[in-house]
Amino acid sequence: MSPLRVIRPEETAAVLERHRDLFDESLRSRALALVEPFCFVAFTIFAVWWLAIPFTQILQGLASLTKFAALMFPPSTGGHLDLLVKAMGETLAIAFLGTLTATLVAFPVSFLAAGNTTPNGLVRFAVRRCLDIVRSVDALIWALVFVGVVGLGPFAGILAIAVSDTGALGKLFSEAIESADARGRESVLASGGTGSLAVRFGLLPQVLPVIAGQVLYYIESNVRSATIIGIVGAGGIGLQLSEQIRTYDFDQVAFAVIIILITVAIIDLISGRLRFAIIGRRAVT
């Protein structure tokens, strides 16, 4: 066992010389190290100034927030427990059916958008841009549009979630297809299978578990987003929630929030179990 090497003072110069690259930083990186934080701080100050944050109102606002919080206890149903439970059921239905519809649409489309299965590059580009456009419009805006089409109610919410998630899921699915191992398809083609057989037996078995995991995750996250869609009249518990906030019935707000928290926790638990069963614990991020 060799003893620890002690660097004597007269050797330091040699050691420094040997590891020159660790200590010598270029002028550029030194300048960047100064400029970057400066820009960051300057931009933040600009943002605060531009948005005219009313610092004088903060204390007053905090006071009224504490008042709201005090009003929340004890939470009360306000005598509408049945309405709230029904609204939560609507919310779950919106999330479930919306995600399912989005999946059914996004699944075939994603094959057109994936580099390894698309018929040609132009189609791929067009489909990708369409998905991007659909995705960059928030579900709430789609909900507003669909309330105009099918009227008030949860059906508009389902359609809104379905459309906005088609964009997101289409992108995710196509990425899953692109990252699949090509050898499965090659072996089917080598044994004389047609292109569609290769996709069915060489590609799908790899991709389906990933897709199923993503769909479950989206159902989970859509339960969260479906809770607000009611604010524009598209069904679900959001309608009650926004009305109660506007009328300052904070005890009922607290109750509705508790219902949402419990439901989301249950859904998380179930879908987490299912996801682990489908793709195993490690693959989930």
Binding site: P54, V149, I158, L261
Partner: protein
Amino acid sequence: MLSSIPVVSQARIEVLVADYQRVVVRRRRQSLLVLAILAVLILLAGRFGEVDVGNLVDNISNFTSYFSRIMPKLSVGHFGADVADWYWNLTGWLKLLLDTILIAYLATLIGATAAFAAAPFAAANLAPSAALRWSIKRIFEFCRTVPDLVFALMFVAAFGLGPFAGILAISIHSFGTLGKLFTEALENIDMKPVEGVRSTGSRFVETVRFGALPQVMSTFASYTLLRFEINVRSGSVVGMVGAGGIGQDLFVAIRKFYYTDVSAILLMIIVCVAVIDLVTERVRHHLSGQDVRP
């Protein structure tokens, strides 16, 4: 050499085929069961969700005609004038769009900073106290489950109309999501550097700073950028409840049927989100794989 190729006897083949059939039958039965459960769920959800396909089919023309109505009337003859007419309020909308981006920026900054400070206390492998860890995790859960618009509504009631309410609402939501993601990233690190730093007698802060953070900083940065992208989208809707940004004008345009305004604002949002997507994707690709992993 031929003898080295194993020949499966007829009896063995039959056994194998029977096994195979049994497995196939079992899998088919499983898939049927899953499909049946799915069908029941769909029917139930359809009942609750008041699905009315007939209504959709009857009114789908509203949907398609909506898009033709929001299209601006552009003619080749006086194209410039038409575009100017379409974007009659360009400077006003650009200001609101900048508002939206800045709301998203400040909200991401606040949310990410708070999540960054809280995550080490919530990670199972670093947390100094189990009780603290449990409560921080519950706070994360609460912050990301309650929708940001609900927070926005309450903050508008407390702080008055304006972007401040939107910033607070989105930053609370970002805090919840980023907190969860940061915690998970910290829980997946290699523990050897952490043990190394601990063995020198360092306290919690030093352990996290020198043992854990070098492994996750680029992951954190990448998650934060992704969150910024999402927050720009949320920033475009918090205006609907009066919490600043371009959402207010969009909401008014949709509700009051100012058709060409709707398409003008939507196009601006879409282009803005696309540009931010592109830029942050570049940066994220640049960041990925820069973590210091032994």
